[in-house]
Symmetry: none
Subunit: 142 residues, 4 copies
């Protein structure tokens, strides 16, 4: 599988956390996954609660599972709650219908992984995810 | 792990049950957990139904998972039911969006555990949890 | 269900922990269950590791599940490992094939609950369980 | 919760990976957890296979669950395979009976977290875990 390297993943996390510091957000947790949804790297800041790695990870792996950002999954959940509830059960909890999970693509549009952020508002979480992706010269997919 | 001692946990439960007796509440169940969510002690009063330890425990461990009281998780569930439904699936049932699960902090604000109470109304359950925490000289967190 | 009262359960735990102190055992965890396997009370001593309530509980609930002590289940596991492995999967982890889980009966031989102990050797764990049962005037079943 | 900080966790991972490079080991994965078993940080090196974060994490969280290193759990599995099989089912896969999962204590002997390493032989994995712990001035527990 063509995937984000560990060096890229660490740089992405550093940039996402730097964005959080700049915006003075609450303690954040950032996860980076390969295109198969498997974790490559994660960091949970001091003060972030117990389940935060799972939560960030489920934003990212859920995005990869359906091929759209977790923001879009949140919109789908408002339109068709029964559908997303069923898919979430299928994912065994590995999906969170709220912004902050973003698929990462290279210049060709090939999916190379995903990032998940949690800790502040969903909008702020997503802003940090996008800052991380931009910092390593890649693009969000969908 | 810096955690509530067993002696503190037992004293907390005694005080919570005493509060329930004072308020003439229905049979209560009280669980006390370390900061990682693992049970330290529990007591289920005579007449309390089968799943009550799991229920009290999930109020407490769910609070630790997200870093807020189960009352706040209940408020989040009203605002964004699809989000809390997804997180609850992720927690494999280890989360209950109703008052009665309270994180416990020491004088420095360091989280040292959590308490869960179930059996009466959620408001009364929480009142007993708070009475138990106060009785051992600690404070609720968030 | 005819079951151990909470007062009996707390007294049983106190006696089991007193036995552990007398024998100078490592930190113990004791769980008491109704005849349906549901927790009534538990205490995990300071220094006991994270999974100890689950482990003690699975000794006790596993004993109730098969109707014999967890010591007997351990013997069955030596004779027929494939059978106990299958049953353990069926129990979803709620069974531990090692001494320390004992079914509790009243004077008539009616099952009223079970106790689980973990922390030291299995033999010592069971000695504490038996001491707790004897202290409240009841008897082990099988 | 008194726990390893994120800064300590990142430094521990860097030192563990540096040890792996020095010994010319295969691609490693390192996870760092709080005392409750929840992930704080992880890094999976390029070329490490899909399940490696789960595997390293289960070495570490399994060690915390039973209060001994995953090397000791491996020894227990040789002596009493049916016992460790049952406990592993209870842990829902969150336990690996092989060296590489080490509990971390501070100078007072208080448990502050755990580290898991996987990728090379179990002995080499553990050597890297111990190097990481030493690099931040802490000690293995048990």
């Amino acid at each position: 599988m063509h995937r984000l390297t560990l060096a890229q993943s660490n740089a992405l996390i550093d940039a996402a956390l730097a964005k959080g510091a700049e915006l003075q957000l609450k303690p954040l947790t950032v996860t980076v996954h390969d295109a198969g949804g498997n974790l490559i790297a994660c960091q949970r800041q001091d003060g972030a609660s117990n389940m935060r790695v799972k939560l960030a990870g489920a934003k990212a792996s859920g995005a990869l599972a359906l091929g759209v950002s977790s923001r879009t999954i949140g919109d789908m959940a408002l339109d068709r709650p029964h559908f997303i509830a069923a898919v979430d059960t299928m994912a065994d909890g590995g999906m969170v219908p709220a912004a902050g999970g973003v698929i990462v693509a290279d210049a060709d549009g090939t999916i190379v992984g995903a990032v998940g952020v949690t800790g502040d508002t969903s909008d702020n979480d997503e802003a940090c995810a996008l800052a991380g992706i931009a910092a390593i010269g890649l693009k969000p997919f969908n």
